[in-house]
């Protein structure tokens, strides 16, 4: 379906440089693997300093969209334009399964990895960074866990550690893919508080969420996805019963 008109997206997207670049702009983006499209025709922008909940049923293409923005898969059609540098200014927290939890590494070292954009493969790890790690650990409430091996942490504690690593990254745009999937209420609230903090400091935040209540309470904006954009805008206008019903319907239709 996309093959025949592959050229289109390229023609459409002769880039206009605008005065106020958004953090991320999507222009008729189609994403997918091989012959199966996961996301169709997404257009819109994540403004700088916005905080968006990315909501949708399973298989709606939320993770795919995150991967597209990260540049891990390239769009089948359309364009994704970034107003910031992809490596140094975008930090991502993927679904936790890519981390090997049995690896014998301390919480301190795991968090210190967040300094990667500054240290890279070889550069030294200076005193400044050491202070930052300790600060990040205390912000997520893991100050006493620095020398613990990550295999001994609970799911919630590990998630806190990953948040601390994200904090170390010090990026302008933060993408989080289901950060609260296996985390209890108290931890979720703590971590949401951290996100609100970062938002207040002008960071752009996009979070994949399943908890609609949390989305309504903590996020000013929402993007409801179901293989395509169902609604995008202020959270109270997006997460309406009608829209949610439509989203469920669209996704079910895809699989039946």
């Amino acid at each position: 379906m996309a093959d025949g008109r592959l050229g289109y997206g390229l023609v459409v997207s002769v880039v206009k440089i605008e005065t106020s670049m958004p953090a991320i702009e999507l222009d008729q983006v189609y994403l997918g693997w091989r012959d199966r499209l996961a996301v169709r025709d997404v257009s819109g922008r994540f403004e700088k300093g916005s905080m968006t909940a990315l909501v949708g049923p399973n298989g709606a293409g939320k993770s795919t969209l995150i991967k597209g923005i990260m540049g891990q898969i390239s769009p089948v059609r359309g364009h994704i334009r970034l107003g910031v540098d992809a490596v140094t200014q975008i930090a991502c927290m993927p679904q936790a399964d890519s981390l090997d939890r049995n690896f014998p590494i301390t919480v301190y070292d795991l968090v210190a990895l967040g300094a990667w954009p500054r240290t890279g493969h070889w550069r030294g790890f200076c005193r400044d960074e050491h202070a930052r790690v300790l600060d990040a650990l205390s912000q997520v409430g893991l100050a006493d866990f620095a020398s613990r091996i990550i295999g001994t942490l609970s799911g919630g504690q590990l998630q806190r550690a990953l948040f601390a690593r994200l904090l170390m990254h010090d990026a302008d745009v933060l993408l989080l893919d289901e950060p609260f999937a296996s985390v209890d209420r108290a931890t979720t609230d703590d971590l949401l508080g951290l996100l609100a903090d970062w938002h207040a400091r002008g960071r752009t935040i996009i979070v994949v969420l399943h908890d609609l209540e949390a989305a309504r309470q903590h996020f000013p904006e929402a993007l409801l996805l179901a293989g395509q954009v169902v609604a995008w805008g202020p959270v109270e206008q997006v997460l309406t019963p009608d829209n949610l019903h439509l989203a469920r319907h669209l996704c079910a239709g895809d699989y039946l």
Binding site: M70, Q72, V87, C92, P94, S98, L99, D100, F103, P104, I105, T106, L110, L113, W116, P117, T119, H121, W122, I149
Partner: protein
């Protein structure tokens, strides 16, 4: 007392071939240990074995074309080892097949090819020596090869240590940060092949995997951190080499199996009494837990 000291040191003081054997196997063990730990951490413990089989046809081709010339055989081994690693990696990247399966396929083909090539020249005692090692007959070239390969490996490991750890811990993170995950992985495979090829003269292509994996598998029962395990594995490998050579000298048994069996003995001992999750330790913990639980239930009654 004097007897013990003589037993421990005299063979190496009196005989030059024992000193050479010790130097060669110590050099091998020093660099093989950290590589083994990385293999264990990457859940590729059997990969070393597969690679050792994979380098066989290259060694055989080197032998067939240039005779028992160390350089030719080493070059052949390196080339085939890397070729197999690259092709297997390519298949696993381009098709849904996982890397362990494609590796198994490629190394078995390589092994078949190797056996075929070896049999072309008939049974040859020299080649048997290459396959099973001649640690007691190391010449200057072999000693130079293994010591320089080991030095290069240790230096490169130290330089890319951070990348290797991250690539193994969280490949996604490295990829996102343009961390050249694939390059790091390939470099690791190059080091692995280099050490296997360098080690075939010392312990033989088949036994060299033992000095790599056994200390690495042992270290986990004594040290927790990845870096600590690497240092520990090196030390264990050296100890196993030393006592294996002594055993071989005093009991008059072949040297390279004696070295591997020493490492094996240390492994079994560690599984039993190792302070980190060793069997004895685990049993103690289970016993203590039962005691606590029964104490609680008595109080409840």
């Amino acid at each position: 007392m004097m007897g013990v000291i003589e037993w421990l040191f005299l063979p190496f003081i009196e005989y030059g071939f024992m000193r050479r054997a010790l130097a060669g196997s110590l050099a091998l063990a020093l660099a093989a240990g950290p590589l083994g730990v990385l293999l264990v951490l990457r859940r590729m413990s059997l990969m070393g074995d597969a690679m050792a089989h994979a380098i066989l046809p290259g060694v055989a081709v080197g032998f067939l074309t240039a005779g028992l010339h160390l350089g030719a055989m080493a070059l052949g081994g390196v080339v085939t080892g890397l070729l197999v690693a690259m092709l297997a990696g390519l298949v696993s990247r381009l098709t849904p097949q996982r890397e362990d399966a494609s590796f198994a396929a490629f190394y078995l083909v390589s092994l078949g090819l190797g056996v075929l090539l070896v049999s072309l020249r008939g049974s040859n005692m020299d080649l048997i020596n290459v396959l099973f090692g001649t640690v007691l007959g190391l010449d200057d070239a072999a000693l130079l090869l293994v010591t320089s390969a080991s030095s290069v490996t240790l230096v490169v490991l130290a330089v890319v240590y951070r990348s290797l750890v991250v690539e193994c811990l969280d490949p996604f993170f490295l990829r996102h940060n343009r961390g050249m995950g694939t390059a790091v992985h390939m470099l690791f495979l190059v080091l692995l092949v280099l050490m296997l090829v360098a080690g075939f003269q010392v312990l033989g292509t088949l036994m060299v995997v033992g000095i790599m994996m056994l200390p690495a598998a042992t270290a986990r029962f004594w040290v927790r951190s990845a870096g600590g395990q690497m240092v520990f594995a090196s030390i264990l490998g050296c100890l196993a080499s030393y006592f294996g050579l002594l055993l071989s000298f005093h009991a008059n048994v072949p040297a390279s199996p004696a070295i591997i069996l020493s490492a094996g003995a240390i492994y079994f001992l560690s599984v039993l009494v190792g302070p980190l999750d060793g069997l004895v330790h685990a049993a103690q913990q289970a016993y203590a837990r039962r005691r606590r639980l029964s104490a609680v239930s008595e109080r409840v009654q």
